[in-house]
């Protein structure tokens, strides 16, 4: 195995699919769908292989690769490497877990894309481009590269929502574009201020410079304390749009409802998690001091997210809206865990990122299967699903259980650890937050029971149950959720090193 190109291969292998798709005539529906699915496999296999090796003790730093890419001019009065941006990829345990999650969800979403009705060719090309962007975000070794991959997800998403979505798709696409455009604009400012002041955008180097006073001497220009607060708050807003943190969330509701469900699987499963990833990696990693000061504020934001999402999910008429608000609510738990500032809290937050990625992908997969048959997601028109589609409603119930934190499933582990952390740090806030957990059970059960056992409506009769091709991804997702639920150590192990670095930065 040639280690030096492994990550590049992993990130860019969907490109092969894009090139091949370009040569397929656009009317060949089956070929295109098959090719689109196959193109996601190399990344998945490579990611799983790397993960397997890692669990057996392989040193991930050997995967790091670095090539010269671009230097903004050489100046005699600056150090040689100043203002150079190499092409560098590297991963640690956390990033690798996210990459596995991304590759897995991309493959499953490609299967779920059998329900796409038109222009398959363009759809899959954009889909694969989106996958490259998402994989690259987690593997990027410097901030500028991170940003480039981050933006690479923006454009395909705009098209995927705007072209293949439902009735108000263009409005949703624009709302996505503008909110995320503002978010990434703020992110770019932060990145470039750091870059201009330090001459590097390498994440590890920046951590050194920003954390310890000796490293600070290497900066080209000083970064004052005030500026650090400014940068940290800017990061919080930038990733807060993505996560989303409550006042910045309206775009994601539209996307959840209007985008095709296979894309929402990725959106809710991975793209929202980039917000959490960025907040942990950069917010906490680069500005630990500022994070510590504002931890209570972040925990409060988390509780607001949790409760706001939960209460509004309770009154929604559309199942997709229930899930959208549920996503907001669950992302609150990530913030709660981070706000706790202790090992349990951070672990809970990262667990929640992975767990919710799987659960929301499962739920939207089921939505897509359901919509395909009954052409609605309105709760009052979905009664009696259990009779017509026993398997689908069974899985729906299981998904809902996982989401509300039933022990034995991944949701329980993450919520439990996150709250454990917060109870240690801020018992009052945590106590208020537990109300959200109860609400989660209430709104999810209300929605799911309504659908499965409610009075049978006419459009639900005489529809086929789940097909094999749809069953496979559902089973895989269920399997992962339960696996993490009963054997969380697998995940905990791979995150240990990352969390330890975070704790060191926090002075723990």
């Amino acid at each position: 195995m040639n280690d030096t190109y492994f990550l590049s291969l992993l990130v860019f292998s969907p490109l092969l699919g894009i090139v091949l798709l370009a040569f397929v005539p656009k009317t060949q529906e089956q070929t295109i769908k098959l090719l689109g699915f196959l193109a996601t496999l190399p990344s998945l296999l490579l990611a799983l292989f790397a993960f397997g090796q890692y669990l057996r003790g392989y040193d991930l730093s050997r995967l790091a690769e670095k090539h010269a890419w671009l230097q903004f001019g050489k100046y005699s009065f600056l150090p040689d490497s100043a203002f150079s941006v190499p092409y560098e990829l590297n991963v640690d345990g956390f990033a690798l877990v996210m990459i596995v999650l991304t590759a897995l969800l991309a493959t499953l979403a490609a299967i779920a894309s059998i329900h796409i009705k038109k222009e398959w060719k363009g759809y899959f090309m954009l889909f694969l481009l989106l996958e490259i962007g998402m994989l690259g975000v987690f593997a990027a070794g410097n901030l500028l590269l991170f940003f480039i991959f981050f933006e690479v997800t923006l454009v395909p998403m705009f098209f995927l929502i705007g072209k293949w979505g439902y009735f108000e798709k263009e409005k949703a696409a624009y709302s996505y574009l503008l909110y995320n455009g503002i978010g990434s604009a703020i992110l770019l400012l932060v990145i470039l201020i750091l870059f201009a002041r330090t001459g590097t955008s390498n994440i590890a180097a920046l951590q050194d410079m920003l954390r310890d006073p000796q490293g600070a001497a290497q900066m080209l220009a000083p970064i004052s304390d005030d500026l650090r607060y400014g940068l940290f708050i800017a990061l919080l807003i930038a990733f807060g749009v993505k996560l989303p943190i409550v006042p910045l969330h309206s775009w994601m509701l539209r996307v959840h409802v209007q985008a095709p469900p296979s894309i929402v699987m990725l959106h809710s499963g991975v793209l929202l998690k980039i917000g959490a990833f960025g907040l942990i990696r950069f917010g906490m990693g680069l500005f630990p001091e500022q994070f510590e000061r504002l931890a209570t504020f972040i925990a409060v934001l988390g509780v607001i997210n949790l409760l706001y999402g939960a209460f509004l999910a309770f009154v929604q008429e559309d199942f997709k809206m229930v899930l959208a608000y549920s996503s907001i609510s669950h992302m609150g738990i990530v913030l709660i865990g981070l706000g706790a500032l202790n090992e349990a809290g951070i672990q809970g937050a990262i667990f929640q990122v992975v767990s919710h990625g799987l659960i929301s992908a499962l739920l939207f997969l089921l939505v897509s299967i359901m919509y395909e048959r009954v052409h609605t997601t309105m709760l009052d028109r979905l009664g009696g699903l259990a009779k017509a589609m026993p398997l689908v409603s069974g899985f729906l119930l299981a998904g809902a259980m996982a989401s509300l934190g039933l022990p034995g499933m991944s949701g329980f582990i993450s919520e439990f650890t996150a709250f454990l952390g917060l109870f240690k740090a801020e018992p009052m806030i945590a106590a208020v937050g537990t109300l959200g957990i109860i609400m989660t059970a209430v709104y999810l059960l209300r929605a799911v029971l309504n659908m499965t056992y409610g009075a049978t409506t006419h459009n639900v009769t005489e529809v086929a149950d789940i097909r094999t091709v749809e069953l496979v991804p559902v089973l895989i997702l269920m399997g992962c959720i339960i696996l993490i639920g009963v054997y969380p150590d697998m995940l905990a192990q791979s995150l240990e090193a990352t969390i330890q670095t975070m704790m060191n930065g926090l002075g723990g």
């Binding site: 500028l144 690479v152 201009a196 220009a221």
Partner: protein, 502 residues
């Protein structure tokens, strides 16, 4: 001046200018004696060939050191070489567009079309290499007057007439203001030579004189903003862009704008960087004027990007977009960091490629129906998928999305804004905010191209010249976006234009 001294000069350093001058003269003579009914397309190829030869001769000059001839009125330095390359490349592409320009009533004065582009180009080239106020001004006027005629070349088209009229009146006013400013400088120093002026001004201590000099600076800045199409002289741009023949619009938005930045940099850096200013702490006049430039840059970005939101006519849309880009470039100038000239050169190169590419497609699409409404782009993806994707690339680059040259250019400008002390946070924030605003109208083009059903169903035929332009521009936009190192490596040989003042 005797023959000996005249022959003694190294005329070789003016080779590109002589070639353009020769081709322009030859073209005007051929056009004069050519029968009226003969096809003038070959003349276009001749003009393109001339520009290409000029580019080749310029690459031959790249290794020649800084040379100054004719009492420093003409100097070949790194700055001149680098920017001449941009101007020549831009002009070659614009000429290719001009050959395929097919308005409904046909082009009556095709020969004039070609050689006027060349004379305008000659004016712009003179400016890049000028070390004297007189030659700078003559170059500026040669460019302007040629452009005035070009704008009105569609004689039977009332919008074209209106555009030429507006252009000439606005241009006249701005020239007068510039000249007024220059007269102060001449009055204070008694010389038109930039070097001598700088020397004189560096000893200027009297605060009354410095006040006068500041006035001269502002007058020149305001006057020259006409060529940049930036605030306060931006009002002409939408009307002129709309009325002028499309290749002329492309020329104005790229070559003429580049020339504008050339004269701004040449003039202000060489004169005012050395001049003293009496502030709280003594610094150079240029630095003390930073806030004014920053203000104009901010206003330009805001006006360009917000008014563009309401445009339905694509040429007007691109006019406001080009105003906005002038604003971004001014940010690079206002920051006055050590990356200033480098970053502006890179941005102008990227802007040249992406904007000319977009104009090539715009011309093809609008020529077919004669309408310039944005709905003409509807369903372009169905009619010609490849062209639609190319347009997508250019627009993404204009919007500054990663993977394109436009993004790298913007990053470089931001870098300049942040690398100075104190950093220009407000200006950078305005730039980034207006960039997000610009997404709305750029992606509005996308909705037309990719989402809307086609208004016309016949496939779009793309002429040869346009094909070449689109290919070159798309390649450049993409390659310099993914591998910007290539262009930066090329830029390294100019050593950050350090021979500017020598």
């Amino acid at each position: 001046m005797t023959w000996e001294t005249l022959l003694h000069y190294k005329w070789g350093v003016m080779a590109p200018e002589f070639i353009i001058l020769g081709v322009a003269t030859a073209l005007s003579l051929i056009d004069l004696f050519m029968p009226n009914d003969q096809n003038r397309r070959p003349l276009g190829w001749f003009a393109v060939a001339g520009v290409v030869v000029a580019i080749i001769s310029l690459t031959g000059l790249l290794s020649v050191g800084t040379t100054s001839i004719l009492y420093d009125t003409f100097r070949l330095d790194a700055f001149g070489k680098a920017f001449k390359l941009l101007l020549l490349t831009g002009a070659a592409l614009v000429l290719l567009l001009a050959m395929d320009y097919q308005p409904k009533e046909g082009v009556k004065y095709q020969g004039e079309f070609y050689y006027l582009f060349l004379t305008a180009l000659l004016g712009a080239m003179m400016m890049t290499s000028s070390g004297d106020l007189i030659t700078l001004f003559v170059g500026l006027e040669l460019l302007s007057i040629s452009s005035y005629i070009l704008a009105g070349l569609r004689k039977a088209h009332h919008l074209s007439n209106e555009s030429a009229m507006k252009y000439v009146i606005n241009g006249g006013i701005s020239t007068a203001i510039t000249l007024f400013g220059m007269s102060y400088v001449f009055g204070l120093t008694g010389s038109t030579n930039l070097k001598k002026i700088a020397m004189q001004l560096s000893t200027l201590q009297d605060s009354g004189h410095q006040y006068m000099l500041a006035l001269a600076f502002l007058l020149m800045l305001v006057g020259l903003s006409f060529k940049l199409a930036s605030v306060p002289f931006h009002m002409w741009a939408p009307d002129v862009y709309q009325g002028a023949p499309t290749p002329v619009t492309a020329f104005l938005s790229v070559v003429s704008k580049t020339a504008g930045f050339v004269i701004v940099l040449r003039l202000f850096i060489s004169i005012f960087a050395a001049a003293l200013s009496q502030g709280k702490e003594p610094s150079s006049m240029l630095l003390s004027m930073q806030d004014y430039i920053a203000f104009l840059a901010g206003a330009t970005m805001m006006i360009g990007n917000t008014v563009a939101l309401k445009q339905r006519n694509v040429k007007r849309l691109f006019a406001y977009s080009s105003i906005a880009h002038a604003g971004y470039l001014l940010v690079g100038f206002a920051a006055m960091s050590w990356v200033m000239v480098d970053s502006m050169w890179f941005y102008l190169a990227a802007y040249l490629l992406m904007n000319l590419g977009a104009f090539a497609i715009l011309q093809t699409v609008t020529d077919q129906t004669g309408s310039e409404d944005i709905s003409q782009f509807a369903g372009l993806y169905r009619r010609n998928p490849l062209l639609a994707i190319m347009m997508g690339l250019f627009v993404l680059s204009l919007a500054g999305i990663p993977g394109t040259a436009g993004f790298i250019g913007k990053v470089h400008i931001f870098l300049g804004a942040f690398a100075t002390e104190p950093a220009h946070y407000v200006l950078a924030a305005i730039m980034i905010a207006t960039t997000v605003v610009s997404y709305v109208y750029y992606f509005g083009l996308f909705t037309q191209i990719f989402f809307r059903p086609a208004a016309h169903h016949e496939p779009l035929r793309v002429p040869l010249g346009v094909t070449i332009v689109v290919t070159v521009c798309a390649l450049g936009t993409f390659v310099f976006g993914v591998m910007p190192g290539l262009l930066y490596h090329f830029l390294d040989q100019f050593q950050h234009f350090s021979d500017f003042l020598r």
